[in-house]
Symmetry: C2
Subunit: 206 residues, 2 copies
Amino acid sequence: MNDMVPSPHDESQPMSLRERKKRLAQTTIEEAALRLFQQRGYEHTSIQDIADAVMMSPRTFFRYFASKEEVLFGPIHAVQSDGIRSLQQAASSESPLVALRTTFGYLASLYQQQRASFLIRYQVAKQTPSIASIYLYAMMEAEPAFCDALYVHLESVTDRNKIRFLVAIYMTAFRVALEEWMENGVQGDLVSLLGEYLEYFSSLSL
Amino acid sequence: MNDMVPSPHDESQPMSLRERKKRLAQTTIEEAALRLFQQRGYEHTSIQDIADAVMMSPRTFFRYFASKEEVLFGPIHAVQSDGIRSLQQAASSESPLVALRTTFGYLASLYQQQRASFLIRYQVAKQTPSIASIYLYAMMEAEPAFCDALYVHLESVTDRNKIRFLVAIYMTAFRVALEEWMENGVQGDLVSLLGEYLEYFSSLSL
DNA sequence: TTGACCTTTGTCATTAAGTGACATTATAAT
DNA sequence: ATTATAATGTCACTTAATGACAAAGGTCAA
């Protein structure tokens, strides 16, 4: 069994000057925005402020990000998409349970790779009530797609509902582990933390 | 053991004319807004449209509802608050597990009492991507308060994390049961559906 | 290198959510 | 009836987001 993890984003082409400038603008905006969010808070940072900071017109900001939230949650969406692809692949050759374990382990590793970035985003989101909902949703939006990926195995309606519940449980365990990890400043190993929660789960009786 | 369910909103005072007019205006706005949301969709219904429909100025709309979302999710917030109160009370005399069972049973009964209203809200939310996040959050926002309510029993850090996970699991079971119930047009008994999921949970091994 | 072509950017205008200030009207209390 | 209090409407303002169009910048072939 090889790596099983699809590389997040194919990064092979030479990249034209145009492409490079685009990427540069994107990361420039993102860095400036995150810095401002941390300094003044998300809500007290307007698009105009961000645009001023990077010397662009507000209109141009919206050519790189569909909204202010997108700056904050873009990478989370990207991770979720990677998770969906991972699960689709894993589900084709493994049982639902094994596939889920594989995928959530993979997701944990992605979070760990970008821990600094995700910590900032988490902290900004936590300090901003109007954003908390979007953060939660960003972490769970993949749930339906996860279910779809696993439906290839079992097809009766009751089985589908069980799969749905199973996915939701796994997502919950992952979310709780992630939150504890974030609260502790992304120190320690997220993968083993998730493992502890799943192990504890087995000992539960409701 | 008596009812254990605190009455949602104390409804005893005679109510002055002013109060009655206020309530009337509130329900009038809400009904008109929900009707418009169903007809044209949430995003294609502006505050102006709602204000026109009830012959009020847009400014007055905002004196009754803090936002457009509030019209849609107000009752869900209210149910969550009731749940928190219920759990605080139950947790003082029962074990965490029993208290959770009691409270989620109570919540299920509240949803069933207002099933028509909640179904509309669910359907509107489901049709509106920009709103889906807020719907999810509305259903889970009470999680931290639930944890706090149960922390009165156990106090070590590891126990708190376990309580946190336990609450999250229960919320997940409830959410999945609720979604299935909604998808099926709020037919059948939500309480027993929740029971089935919790029972199935016990048979799981991750 | 020049010029034609396509992309990116800026400017301007517009819709919609949300908020503060203040005057006007309706209700309550004496 | 008169005064205090609360509700409403009007106006002005900020901010997010989007469409249209012109100006500037990059790409590539001759």
